[in-house]
């Protein structure tokens, strides 16, 4: 059985790696907390488990997925950020989930920037969007900091209320 790839991306402060079963506690805690209100939560433990297992499965099925965000020298997962393309998604997405203890550190920006570049380079994506709840001002601010702009003409995501932010294309970076 061929194992699917486990790429690692290094940034100034972070090591971004494929998520492992050891990352599940933080992810489940996040999805069960109010912090997940803009990304389908808060969820029951059962649903939160599905959400995490689905992140692992995304890698198995597509050969890529959200990267676990870790700080250099500490393998603890602080969030899941990166290329994301579940069934039902109209377009490729750069998604970000960051645990509360890593908010305000700029890690989400650093990880989103690096995984977007990786998706353009390694997966050959020509464009990417982020689907964001209109009430999620933090996430909107991050999208804008990443150079993404609102694209109201784009097909809606799985949640029709979500705004679509389109990232600069590879040639624009």
């Amino acid at each position: 059985m061929t194992a699917s790839p486990s790429p690692v991306i290094e940034t100034e402060r972070l090591i971004l790696r494929r998520p492992t079963p050891e990352d599940q506690a933080g992810s489940i805690a996040f999805m069960m907390s109010d912090r997940s209100q803009f990304v389908g939560g808060p969820m029951t433990r059962h649903k939160a488990w599905f959400a995490f297992a689905s992140e692992l499965g995304h890698w198995e099925i597509h050969g890529y997925g959200s990267f676990a965000v870790t700080v250099r020298g500490d393998d603890t997962c602080l969030g899941l950020i990166g290329p994301w393309f579940p069934g039902g998604w109209p377009e490729h997405e750069i998604g970000w989930l960051i645990w509360p203890e890593a908010e305000g550190t700029g890690f989400a920006y650093e990880a989103a920037l690096a995984t977007r570049a990786w998706a353009y380079r390694e997966l050959g994506w020509q464009t990417a969007v982020s689907y964001i709840d209109p009430g999620n001002t933090r996430s909107i601010a991050l999208a804008e900091r990443l150079g993404a702009v609102r694209d109201d003409a784009a097909p809606r995501g799985v949640d029709a209320e979500d705004l679509v932010y389109r990232h600069p294309a590879p040639g624009e970076l």
Binding site: A51, A53, S54, E55, L56, G57, E60
Partner: protein, 171 residues
């Protein structure tokens, strides 16, 4: 990281689920009959279940297989053993696409998956969670030698729990 080993039966190959299996899985989950397996009807819910099943292998070292007829690429269902968070017990579960029903495929795959779990993982007991109105699945559970276990904890108030014969009973 663990992925599904390939196992063969007389007519079937049980293998690791892959991206090309998603369309058939989604069609099944979104069909009316899939309400028997308690799913929501959206492509994203279907994706969540499908990808979580692949993730289950990595988390637990066992999980549901994609079922194909020997020599065929496309799936006829997904069958295997799993225990998502908050499932009271380890479950033997079968999903068989409509056009593959009535051929004994689910029986053959479920038997192989149960045998594998007892033999390779040393599991002592397995249940199947079945809706009370899913007569087909109940018949299959009975054909597999499982019996209604009224003392076991169901998944939902209207659900039934069928308990499979353990490894000793089958040897």
């Amino acid at each position: 990281m663990t992925t599904a080993p390939t196992i063969e039966t007389e007519r079937l190959v049980l293998r690791q689920p892959r991206a090309s299996d998603l369309a058939a899985y989604t069609a099944f989950i979104m069909s009316d009959r899939a309400c028997f397996v308690g799913r929501e009807h959206s492509r994203f819910s279907a994706w969540k279940c499908f990808s979580a099943e692949a993730g289950h292998w990595m988390l637990h070292g066992y999980g549901p297989w994609a079922v194909t007829l020997k020599g065929a690429e496309e799936t006829v269902g997904q069958v295997g053993v799993w225990q998502p968070e908050e499932f009271p017990e380890r479950e033997l579960r079968w999903l068989i696409w409509d056009d593959a029903e009535g051929k004994g495929i689910a029986y053959e795959a479920a038997l192989a998956a149960r045998d594998f779990d007892y033999r390779v993982h040393g599991t002592r007991t397995l249940v199947s969670y079945i809706s009370a109105d899913n007569a087909r699945s109940i018949r299959l559970a009975e054909r597999l030698g499982a019996h209604l276990d009224k003392d076991a904890h169901p998944l939902d108030p209207n659900g039934l729990v069928y308990r499979h014969p353990g490894p000793e009973a089958l040897s």
